[in-house]
Amino acid sequence: MEETVGPSEMIVHLGPQHPMMPGPFRLNAKLRGETVVDSEVDLGWIHKGIEKILENKTYLQGITIVDRICYLEALTNEEAYVGCVEKLAGIEVPERAQYIRVIVEELSRIQSHLLGMGEYASFVGFVSMFMYTIRDREDVLTLLDSVTGARITHSFLRFGGVKDDLPEGFKDDVKYVFGNLRKAIDSYEDQYSSDSIYKARTVGIGVLTADVAKDMGVSGPPLRATGVDFDIRKDEPYLVYDDLDFKVCTHRDGDVYARIQVRLDEMRESMHIIEQCLDQIPSGPIFPENTPYGKRSPVMRIPAGEVFHRVESPRGEMGFYMVSDGSEKPHRVKIRGPVYPTLQTLPPLLKGVNVADIVAIAGSMDTCTSEADR
């Protein structure tokens, strides 16, 4: 963006502290009247140097660090990290542990979508929706808490398994919570689709077409809202997603409204996945036997090699590239987060929109600055 401003133009800084995002990030928008002429994203306000930290921690310590990339997708981050080490070391995960992983990761997808959708609703002036979603999210977090022992940063996955088995009576708890959640999601959808003011602010706003989204490397709900059925769980199945029956939720329009609709559908689909898992889950060990690596071995040497493992996080394609040199610490870990390309699409997407729509468009992307900065 050029710093010089023409007649009747001005530059407005949104952020670094702005309710539009969970996490500091700055958007410099050049306005002419109320129209955005040009804009620029400024990152780095929450750069934690996680890639460098991981190079200086043992593999087991790394699990706790990758949680902190973004607390909303802690479990899928762990899955990508742990999956890399498992591929490098050739560790087989027992089937029961795989099912437990799918259950907690889908629960984490539900809670992430609930928070993202609620926050976004408050940006477009629908503050009561935020109260509804945060209430229902608490029930999901309680379920996650009962399995993993923590509400947000779980450190639950281990190389080859999981930390704990499912608690007693978990299936009944899930049945109870999902009964309420299904009704709640129906009511959200009803409120979104029946509110004319809400629709006026979202339908046809911030339209991303399929070709442009692909060109920009977008993944996750913003891409699926344009009609592309790209989902790592289907395209490159990991864990037991191959044995589960679920569909990839897509929408045609690619606007703000469609992105929210995709998230609503995905929450229903995640509940469907969890219920299947609870029906199909076999009994057995949750940690592999006959492996050279113990459940909590603080120092483990991983064979030298390079691997790229990607999973579908709530926001899209999360991938870890790991280079091991045979020592107890990784040589290099690259974190490919889904938010990074999504944030990059904002400047072209915001060109020509009304200034009041900036927060609606940026909020509907459900980006997490903490993950983009790492």
């Binding site: 750069h47 460098k52 200086n56 060109d215 592309v228 490919r336 900065d373």
Partner: protein, 158 residues
């Protein structure tokens, strides 16, 4: 088109520029590319072999070989194959052509690789730091011989 025929097509088209091509599994392939012609190779991969999705682009430092590897993870929305393409650069003066004209989202990845490793991208539209403060430019913190970690924090900068 499966992984084997993709790699065969790539090495046929660029016999001099692409070397060490390898098929690790049905969905993972690897190749090395000469830094001078990385843009042509990327354009061919995107247009002919439908590798339209740049998963990421980043550097890896090898001080003992005095090399920095720039790795392009190329995926696709049409097929599940991923190509790990590496370009080997000298550690003393790493320079490579920017692939932004082919992959639009390489812009930020290249800015980040520049500030963390010092890889200079030629013909990049806007090569400036992305996540680090401008004062740290020239320190290349993700190189293995960086001494500032973990004591050099933002507090010490001001």
């Amino acid at each position: 088109m499966d992984a084997e025929s993709m790699i065969a097509s790539l090495t046929d088209r660029f016999p001099d520029d692409v070397y060490d091509a390898d098929i690790e599994s049905a969905i993972r392939t690897a190749a090395k590319v000469k830094p001078e012609n990385v843009v042509d190779v990327c354009r061919y991969l995107k247009e002919e072999l439908s590798f339209g999705h740049l998963c990421c682009e980043f550097g890896v430092d090898y001080p003992d070989r005095n090399e920095i590897e720039v790795i392009y993870m190329l995926g696709s929305y049409e097929h599940p194959v991923i190509l790990t393409m590496k370009a080997l650069l000298s550690r003393d003066e790493p320079e490579i052509e920017s692939v932004v004209p082919v992959y639009w989202n390489a812009n930020w990845y290249e800015r980040e690789t520049y500030e963390l490793y010092g890889v200079k991208y030629l013909n990049h539209p806007d090569l400036k730091p992305l996540v680090l403060p401008i004062e740290m430019l020239g320190e290349w913190p993700l190189r293995k011989d960086y001494k500032g970690f973990p004591n050099k924090t933002a507090k010490n900068l001001v």
